[in-house]
Symmetry: C2
Subunit: 334 residues, 2 copies
DNA sequence: CTGTTAGCGCGTTCAA
DNA sequence: TTGAACGCGCTAACAG
């Protein structure tokens, strides 16, 4: 392991001043072509690499963006992360991914780290747990641009990219009603999060609009899992509140429902209509094929990044809220 | 947006020297208790945050670790990333995730970024495309600890965490043979990568051991996808080389196989035995339930992190290769 | 076109 | 127990 080579090392070796080296490396026009070539050749030869800590310390620039999500290994977030990472890379940015594990405390610590490392900007989808917003406010205080996507923080003024959860859930509910289902249950996440609250509102308003009396919003506070899906459906089916259709907020819950429905011999779509959020790419394998509400991960990533980039580049601080439309993909399950 | 507060600001305000502030903030014992309390109170009050760029510039320390994977939105990697992020966070490290998109060029650029930002260590699972190792060598030259997991670089001396791909594929093959299958095909990835090469070797050696003549290794060079799985199975089933069993290297391929098999009316396990790598958590829903080879993501993450941590902390440079045992989970598909 | 100087924020001497 | 001075690697302002 050799010691890291610096501009001063190069300067000393070439008998020029290190500021000249600095200029040459950054293609500053005010430097002799020959000198520049010599410097660049030497740098390449000795594998010189800029020390970004020094550059950033001077406050000149920073191309690192932080991304905070509740869970990395959740298909929706994994897709968005993947897309964002590519877009960012292509534009010369680097993305660091952080995982809050749905915990406010972790989110807070992550924010501190981000401030300490002077990231150029932050993209966040908040934890279930997060009800305070002081940590996001801190970010703003330090002048670090902030953009939310999907799960947003309501009481912070910042650009947000959201999904039309209210409308799409209303559409899904309406579709079920028109198909003749009348006892529709909604299995979803905590009402604290905008995403789930809006979905539920869309569901409830539509029931009211069509004067349906059966109303059953089941709020899952734990992590969405196949197990939970099974349990919930078991309870639901054996209760007096048995539904004839379900809208599920997560693929995992849906898989649990499917497993348990199979065990109980429940026929879909005859006895139970089913619509789920999420891409069931494998839907062809299930019988019946499941009707899904699909979110546009690529578009979400693209829009989110553009908003942040705009803030970083132009110091723009408009309070834009962009809505990305999810799509109801009709299949056999209802 | 207020300007960032520094130790000098605190010093000026409190009429003491900034070096005293620095000591107080780090709980250096050689500072008056009262002075320290005043400093800490002021710092908290004004939300002082260390500038890590300055700290790192001095070469003192760095708690940021870089992680490079081919794809973030691939369940195996997503799981490992998630685990690693948690372990790291818990131990006071921060993980930045980078995605090579299976491209050598991107991997190389990422490595440069990592060097420039002076990360404390790097964890890598290499791209399919990567056949050179100069960029990893560069990392070593800069004294940045490096650990590989799963997909490793063969001609670099570094700690590696691998899966027993040879043995487990041999076991799977043997199992199929003992179940009476004799025309076993192997659908897997490019032979360039250790993972797929070893699997194929285990497959081939076992066929030889049992003197089976049918041998059919199908090397998928594109991304594993459901579509590709469908295509491959369609070709395979309609060819003269029709197998009576398949070992698949990826869940996506397997899903494609299942879809196409259903379309063609192929009966599993009667007409076709099937074993796949990957966790099919939803296996209960498929009929029949699929026999899987499951990798221990948690153990892989844990071991990988420990190796890296050891290198960072103790400047340890032993060339350890740890093998994590995958498990064959027998179900109905063979 | 090139060199000099200063300073980003911090921690670590060495001196008092 | 505290202060003064220095330097990490780099860029920018100024001077030549």
């Amino acid at each position: 392991m050799n010691k890291r080579i610096t501009i001063k090392d190069i300067a000393k070796e070439l008998n020029i001043h290190h500021s000249t080296v600095s200029r040459a490396l950054r293609n500053d026009p005010r430097v002799n072509e020959k000198t520049r070539d010599v410097v660049l050749a030497y740098a390449r030869e000795h594998e010189y690499q800029t020390n970004m800590n020094a550059v950033q310390l001077r406050g000149t620039s920073n191309n690192a963006i932080a991304l905070i999500v509740p869970n990395i290994n959740h298909s929706f977030f994994a897709d968005v992360i993947s897309q964002l990472t590519n877009i960012a890379f292509q534009k010369g940015y680097v993305i660091s991914v952080f995982q809050s594990n749905e915990k406010y405390e972790q989110e807070k610590e992550i924010i501190n780290t981000i401030i300490q490392h002077n990231f150029a900007g932050v993209i966040v989808s908040i934890a279930k747990d997060t009800q305070k917003s002081d940590h996001f406010r801190l970010l703003k205080k330090f002048g670090i641009p902030l953009v939310f996507f999907d799960r947003v923080c309501e009481d912070i003024i910042a650009p947000k990219v959201i999904v039309n959860n209210y409308d799409i859930t209303a559409s899904a509910t309406e579709w079920l009603i028109k198909k003749g289902y009348s006892r529709i249950a909604h299995i979803t996440g905590t009402n604290i999060i905008n995403v789930f609250r809006n979905r539920d509102q869309g569901y409830q308003d539509t029931l009211n609009k069509f004067n349906l009396v059966y109303k059953n919003s089941i709020e899952i506070k734990k992590d969405f899992s196949i197990e939970i899906g099974k349990e919930v459906f078991q309870k639901l089916w054996s209760s007096t509140q048995r539904p004839d259709a379900i809208i599920s907020s997560s693929v995992n819950l849906t898989l649990g429902i499917l497993v348990q429905a199979k065990i109980l011999g429940v026929k879909i779509p005859e006895e139970l209509g089913l619509i789920t959020f999420g891409n069931m790419m494998t839907s062809e394998i299930y019988q019946p094929q499941i009707t899904t509400i699909e979110q546009q991960e690529t578009e979400i990533a693209q829009t989110t990044f553009e908003l942040l980039e705009d803030m970083i580049a132009n110091n723009n601080n408009q309070i834009i809220v962009k809505e990305i439309k999810a799509q109801l993909i009709l299949r056999e399950s209802c």
